[in-house]
Every structure is written in structure tokens, then in C-alpha cells.
Amino acid sequence: MMDGDLLAASEKVQCDPVLEICGLHKEFVAKNKKIVHALQDVRVKAMRGRVTGLVGADGAGKTTMIRIAAGLLVPTSGSVTVLGLDSVTQTLKVQSAVGYMPQKFGLYQDLSVSENMDLYADLQGVPRAERPKRYDRLLQMTSLAAYTRRKAGALSGGMKQKLGLACALIKSPGILLLDEPTVGVDPVSRRELWKIVYELVEKDNIGVFVSTSYLDEAARCDHVVVLHQGQVLLEGAPREFMTKMRGRVFEVAAVSAKSVRRLYAELAAESGVVDVTIRSGKVRVVTEKEKQPGIGFLVPEKRAIKPVEPSFEDAFMAMIPGSGHHFRQELGGRNLADVPDGQDDAVVTTQNLQKVFGGFTAVKDLSFTVNRGEIFGLLGPNGAGKSTTFRMLCGLLPASGGKISVAGYDLHRSRARARARLGYMAQQFSLYGQLSVKENLRFFGKAYGLNNSRLEHRIRWAYDEFGLKQWQDKMAASLPGGYKQRLAMAAALLHEPDILFLDEPTSGVDPFARREFWLRINGFAQQGVTVVVTTHFMEEAEYCDRMLIMSQGETLAMGSPAKIRELACSPDNPEPTMDDAFIALADGAVNMDGGTGKKASPEEQRS
């Protein structure tokens, strides 16, 4: 979609490096005195007037690299030159010439927007006379002009990010260093943030060095560096990566909408398949080698296979060694239960659900049902009320009005009984970090009243299902990220709940863990577990049977992914993605006609 801009940018390539990293090594000494090699022999160049992206799985060394460039860390060996200045010996000079936005943006929550800007202007020594002009431009770019008196703490997530960016840009830096600037930000805000970055690159001709875990963002960079375990795996223009993948990416259409997920699970279990995702109602498959014949053989002719244009994401998934294997093996031997077709008994029902905090209505008049074996998605921008709704469903927050029934129990009357039937996985890792894997599982099993033999049986199941056996005596806090998530899920499933509540299970998780996770959820749903999940990754909505999009506490749209996507259909965009649909809905350009019984008013603005 940004391809036009991208070409224009890459045509005016200038050979003026703003950042040169040569033979960079970085070691940390871990607590057990082991030396951890965070970065090894890294050589990277970032040019003026270009956006250089840094991608890689969690722990690949992205943040370390950006921090070294900002002079916050000293390299163990190797040289880092920023705008011709050495980052170790001329740190202060470097720091007065770079704009840096850390992962936790450095805003003072108690200070207002303009006070934050004043602070950074003072620190960067921006002459008083230049300030009004500079502020005007930054405020106009970030559309924060109306909020200059508001405290930073009271801004929405997206606005905070933009203010963070404005502060980093206060003294027209020669290079902008951004560390995962869009984590936890909804698609609309993400799009706006990138617009600002590209505008700067074009008008001010600065260099941008950005790390990201969103692969669609990486695809828009002029130059991408792929880090893997502290080493540069590959680098080049995203286009180059994508062309190499030609002939290895296919779209497989399922017979019916209901069988998409089953097809997805089957394809994931095939050998020679590197990556499987659901995109726009079809299963997207990336194969190990070009034109893998297996596909034709495995998929019955009824299902149409069509080669498609590779995306950067496909390339990335194929690039990282061994990424596709681990989960396939675990799922391999298991027999997937048949989809309980047509079984439409409601497991979760809400009627006119409402939540008021003080004078602020967080959730207005929400009604929906979730059926057995369904994956139901709760989507919306930051602050839309989806967490509030979610917490009410789990019985963590009392509703101010309306009715909720979970697994047939009225939440108002029999909370404890309803709770025994549900499993809950919180947004952040929330098991006992100091307890071992086994102790955590034992505790949660007993908390749900499992007797000894059943508990042992279920723990063995969890070890097999999630590959946790080798970690059983390790402290939960010391597990690698992906295994923490597995453990959390195992704990939530130990008592074989009817309903699984998952709050943002994939935020802050790298693309590999995300894929593994959805594959698993898919499997449980097929066994008849009902899943209610919140997410802000729009493409993940594709894995849901049905979903509810919320904005400002109201229902914006509800229905199957296909139905939601259709809403954004237009002559310009015949095959809209979920992101497009969401942005169109959020902007009020389209709305839901019927189906939900609740219409979102177009004049409602996003927060």
C-alpha cells in the first residue's frame, strides 16, 4: 500500500551514513556469572533520508543495539559512529544530535504536553526564539495542538507515543532512534505515527533507525536488518526478501467458512510447511522449497490452491532457522476432534451489559452471545472498553447494569460455581514467578479442587501438551518468554474448563510464539472449548469465528471476520484486510447495518 512512497524514497538514496556500526560485540555478565553474547560481530549502516528497520525475534538484540547507538551502553568491542561522532568517546555530542524514543517513552506523567516539550527543549538547548515555530510544526504533525495543557498521564496510548516522538524531535535531530515505537498501539495510531516518521524523512532528510516486531511495518522500511541471536542474519531492501520467496507462498481456500480453521490445523501439521496463517478467510501457506509438490497431494482438489505474492512476513518466517518446526511436531500425532458443527448452545450471554466508573461510562449497553466451541474475539483500540468487558465476564469486576451468564450460571448469584468452569489467562504473565513449573501447576490444580490422581494425570497431560517436562523444576520467572506463555495456558486449562478467557495473550510476544499460540487455541476450540479472547492485532481476528469490535464502550460491529471485512469493501479496495476494515469502522466511514442490534454513531470520534 505504501509501495509508491517506498519506491520514491529508495530512488533518492544518498550515500551519507548517519549511523555506522562496525564489528560490534556486546557481552553481558548474567547473574550466574555466565557471559551472554547479546550482539556478535554486527555491521550495520543507516543512511540519511532513509528508514532502516531492525527486526528479529524477542531477545535477538534489537534493544541492545539501539541503546548502544544512543550511547546508553558501551560496546564490548567494535566501533559505533553516529553522524560522524564516536558514540563512546563523544557521547555528549552524539546525544545532543540524536532523537531517541525508548520503549517506555520518557514522558513525565505529571507534566502537561507543553511542559514535557519545554523540558526537552531546555535540555537539548533549543534557542528560545526558535521554539514557537518548532512547537507549532510538531504539534500540527502529531495533532496534539488541542491538548497542550493536558497531563501526559491522561493521554491515550497513541497520543503518548506521538508526544514521545515530538519530544525526541524537539531539536531537528540528524538521526532518530526508535525502539519498538508501536508496541501496544492500535492500528489507527500506528498508521499516524508512521506517517509522521515518513514526513520527516522526506522533508527534513533525516535518518531513522527503528526496531519493530510488526512485520508489516518492517516491509515499509527502505532497508531492513534481520537480527537473529545477536547476529545479522540478512539485510537488504524488503523487496529483495520478498522476490526471493516467489513461488513458495500459496493461498488455500476452504470449502466453507466453518472449515477454515480445520484446514489451517491440518496444513500446519504438514512437513515442508514453514508457516501457516489465516488471512482474509483463506489459509496462507509458506513452503520450505519452491513449488513443494506435497501441497497438491495433500489438499483435495475441491480446495483451490493459488500462488500469491509473498509478503515480508512470509520472508521473515522462512528466514529464521527452525522456526516452523517445534510446534508442528507436538501437534503432529494428535487426532483433531471433529468440529462440533451446528452446535449452537450459548455458553456466554450478556444482556444490556453496562459499566460506569464514577461519571464515566466505560461500557454501554452491550449484548452478545458466545456459543460452545466458538472462538470469540473482543477487539478495539486502546481504551475502547474491551478490558472492562472482559473483566466483567470473568467476574473480576461487578457490572453496573445488565445480565451476564457464564456456563449457565448467573454471575451475580453463583460466582464461585461459574468460576470453577472457566479458565483465565491474564494479559501479563501472572503466575508465581518464584515457584517452579510443577509447583505452579499443582497449586492451580488444587485451587480448582482436583483430587490427587486427577491432578497427576492433568499435570502429565500439561507436560506432554506444552513440552514443559524438561522445565518442571525451573522457576517460572526464569522460563523463556514462549514457555511462560505455555505454562500460563497450561495452568488455565488444567481443570478442563468449558470456557477459556484470554486477555491480550499475544501482546509483546514475537511472531513465532504468536503463531504457535493460535494453532493451539484452534486445537482446543475444535475439542469443544469455548474461547473468548481480546487482542489488538487485527490480523489475529481472522482466527476467530466471530468477533465484536468496540469503540468508546459501544459496539462498533459484530460478526464473522468475512462479514467485518466486507464492510470495508469498496471499488478502490476490493479485498480489504482486517486493518482496513477496522480503520474504516473507527473513522466512521462505514458502519454495521443490523446484525448486532446496535448501531455505532458515525460522529463518534476515537479517543
Binding site: L396, Y424, A426, S430, Q434, E439, Y448
Partner: protein, 373 residues
């Protein structure tokens, strides 16, 4: 049955959490022990090394006899022999001495003639506690000196018209270390309990595990019991260890019954667990929890009678102090250790604790429900 299993699971989890983490294990054992010994030695009103100077204008055998008694008391340390009155100001102002004993030149003669005579003592009032206590010591020395004079026949026995026969019960040598140390253990175990419980819920809230507990089929009462037991057991264990330490290390006599001690301490620890859980259920973060227990501990300890008697406070403050649980345990511990109280005798200090405990625990359970449904 299933309820018991669930509670047991919670308790086992709490114990494992505390005992597994070296830091929290240390918090329960290390600092309390150090505090017990440091404060056991530091927190005392028994004076030693009180610096004093002497202006002896009498220079007689009798004045020297008196000064020898002062020196021999083991309380005072001579820092200067003065020659004239101007020096007194120099010594007191510059903190060279805290007391100046001034014996004037008529001293010996007056004593011999059985004329009442006064020894001037100038004390530095910047630390009035030390001044008062030191003057008290001196008073005792003078009292003994007078008896000695009678005994030696320097003064006619009949001329001493008033004889004070002083006796102190329960603590014959008037050692304030007994007084402080007997109660100190209860106080330190209280701090341990407060920190353990006030942080326990807040920590779970911060790490998100509290939601996980609330989503599980626990009732608020079950969570309350599960959270209380570890605090009660560790607090009680600590308190008993300190009681043993007071007797075997500091040599405090133990005159009461062990049953009385155990019951009083248990009631007190349960009360403190109630307060800690209340603080915890009110605070969303560990910092608030820590600050909250600080806000409770400071006034509660200050007004408990540990360091300064409750009876010295203004009446309105004494009335308000009736709700201070620490006050009761301090009285109870002292009467058990030093006065030999049994269960019946400490009962008046136990039932108020029970009332406070039932109030705070109910309130804490209610807060769990209200804050977290």
C-alpha cells in the same frame, strides 16, 4: 473437604513463596534478629559513662568519701576536676560534662556539726532524660552516703529524722533492659508480620496473580485464611524465639506461665495479621502497602509504652490509645516476664486484642470482596 484442600493449597503456596525466595527468607530471619540484638543493647535507659566534672572546694576526707561513692557506682565517668565556678559553664556548655558536682568549702564542717548541707549538682538539660535519670542515681548515692554517715558514727543516729526505706518489686536492681527487652520481641515480630502480610496481597496485585486467585473458585474467606496462616506461623515463631532470646541471652527472668505467653502472643499476632491484611487489601501497589504499614507502625509503637510510659501521655491521648493493639501486648509481656502473670492475670490485656482482631479481620475480608469482585 474440598474447601480444606483449596485452603491447604493456598497455604502451601504462600509458604513455598516465602521460603523459596532467599530475599524474603532473609527478611523473616535476618533483620529481626539483628534488630533484636542491636535494640536490645541500644534501647536502654540504664546509664553508663555519664560524663561529670567535680568542683570540690571542700577538699576534705568527707567530700572525697562522697566522690569515691560516685565514682564507684559505675554510672559516672570523671572528665575534669574544676577549680572555680566559671569553669562550670565551660564544661556544661561545651558538652564536656553532663553533670557538675559542686561541693562547697563548708561541707565537711557542716556535716560534722550535723547541720544540713547541700551538694550542688548542675545538669545539662539538653537531654532531660539523661539529666533526670542521672540525678536520680545521684539521689540514691546521697541516700546511701547519709546512711553510711550514720553507720560510721559521723552523724548522730537520732539526728536523721526521716528514714526512707526503698524497695522495688519485680526488678530489684531497677534494670531497664529487662523492661525493654521483655517487650521488644513482640514488637519486632509485629514488624515482620506487618511487612509479610501488608505486602502479600499488594504483591499479588502487582504481578497480576491476584486476578488469577479471584478467578479461581476461592471465596474471600478462604483467601483470607490462606493469607493469614503463614503470617501467624512465622510471626508466632519469631516471637517465641525472641522470648527465648530475652531469657537466655539477655537474662531477663521469666516468672509467668508459658501458656499465658503463648496465648497472649498468638492473640497479638492474629491481630497484627488482621491489620496487615487490612492495609494490604487497601493498597494497590507494594509501595502503598509499605507506606501503609509504616503509617501504622510509627504511631502504634511510639504510643505503645515501649520507650516511654503510656501513663505520661495527656489523658485524651491515653483514651485514644485504647485502640492501639501494641499497647496491650507490651503490658501483657512485661507482666508475664517480670510480674509472673498467668493466663487469668493477662486476660484483661487479651480480650481487647481479640476484639481488635475480629474487627480488622472482618474488615479485611470485606475489603477483599469490595475491592475485587
Amino acid at each position: 473437604m474440598i474447601v480444606l484442600r483449596r485452603i491447604l493449597a493456598l497455604v502451601v503456596k504462600e509458604f513455598t513463596l516465602i521460603m523459596k525466595d532467599p530475599k524474603s527468607r532473609f527478611v523473616i530471619i535476618g533483620p529481626p534478629l539483628i534488630q533484636f540484638f542491636v535494640f536490645g543493647y541500644a534501647a536502654t535507659y540504664d546509664l553508663k559513662n555519664v560524663r561529670y566534672a567535680v568542683l570540690d572546694q571542700s577538699g576534705s576526707a568527707l567530700s572525697r568519701q562522697f566522690l569515691a561513692k560516685v565514682e564507684g557506682s559505675g554510672v559516672f565517668r570523671l572528665t575534669g576536676m574544676l577549680h572555680d565556678q566559671q569553669q562550670i559553664a565551660e564544661y556544661i556548655d561545651g558538652e564536656k560534662s553532663r553533670l557538675v558536682i559542686h561541693i562547697d568549702d563548708t561541707f565537711a564542717e557542716k556535716v560534722r556539726r550535723s547541720v544540713p548541707v547541700k551538694i550542688q549538682v548542675i545538669a545539662d538539660g539538653r537531654n532531660p532524660n539523661v539529666a533526670l535519670i542521672a540525678l536520680g542515681y545521684l539521689g540514691t548515692i546521697v541516700h546511701q552516703f547519709n546512711e553510711e554517715l550514720v553507720h560510721q558514727g559521723v552523724v548522730q543516729p537520732g539526728s536523721s529524722g526521716l528514714l526512707l526505706e526503698e524497695r522495688a518489686w519485680f526488678n530489684g536492681n531497677l534494670r531497664s533492659r529487662w523492661f525493654i527487652v521483655s517487650a521488644l520481641g513482640g514488637l519486632i515480630s509485629m514488624v515482620v508480620v506487618m511487612i509479610l502480610t501488608s505486602l502479600s496481597v499488594a504483591r499479588e496485585r502487582e504481578f497480576g496473580t491476584f486476578d488469577q486467585l479471584l478467578v479461581a473458585p476461592f471465596t474471600p474467606a478462604e483467601i483470607l485464611v490462606g493469607k493469614s496462616l503463614p503470617g501467624i506461623i512465622f510471626g508466632f515463631g519469631d516471637a517465641m524465639i525472641f522470648a527465648a532470646g530475652a531469657v537466655y541471652w539477655f537474662g531477663v527472668p521469666f516468672r509467668g506461665t508459658i501458656a499465658a505467653l503463648a496465648v497472649a502472643l498468638l492473640c497479638f499476632i492474629v491481630t497484627m495479621v488482621g491489620v496487615g491484611l487490612l492495609v494490604s487489601s487497601l493498597s494497590m501497589t507494594m509501595q502503598q502497602g509499605l507506606l501503609g504499614s509504616f503509617v501504622f507502625i510509627m504511631p502504634a509503637v511510639t504510643l505503645s509504652g515501649l520507650a516511654t510510659p503510656v501513663e505520661n501521655m495527656p489523658p485524651w491521648l491515653q483514651q485514644a490509645d485504647m485502640i492501639n493493639p501494641v499497647r496491650y501486648i507490651i503490658i501483657a509481656l512485661r507482666s508475664i516476664f517480670l510480674e509472673g502473670a498467668d493466663l487469668a492475670a493477662v486476660w484483661p490485656h487479651i480480650w481487647p486484642l481479640m476484639i481488635i482482631a475480629s474487627l480488622t479481620l472482618t474488615l479485611a475480608a470485606w475489603m477483599f470482596r469490595a475491592r475485587s469482585v
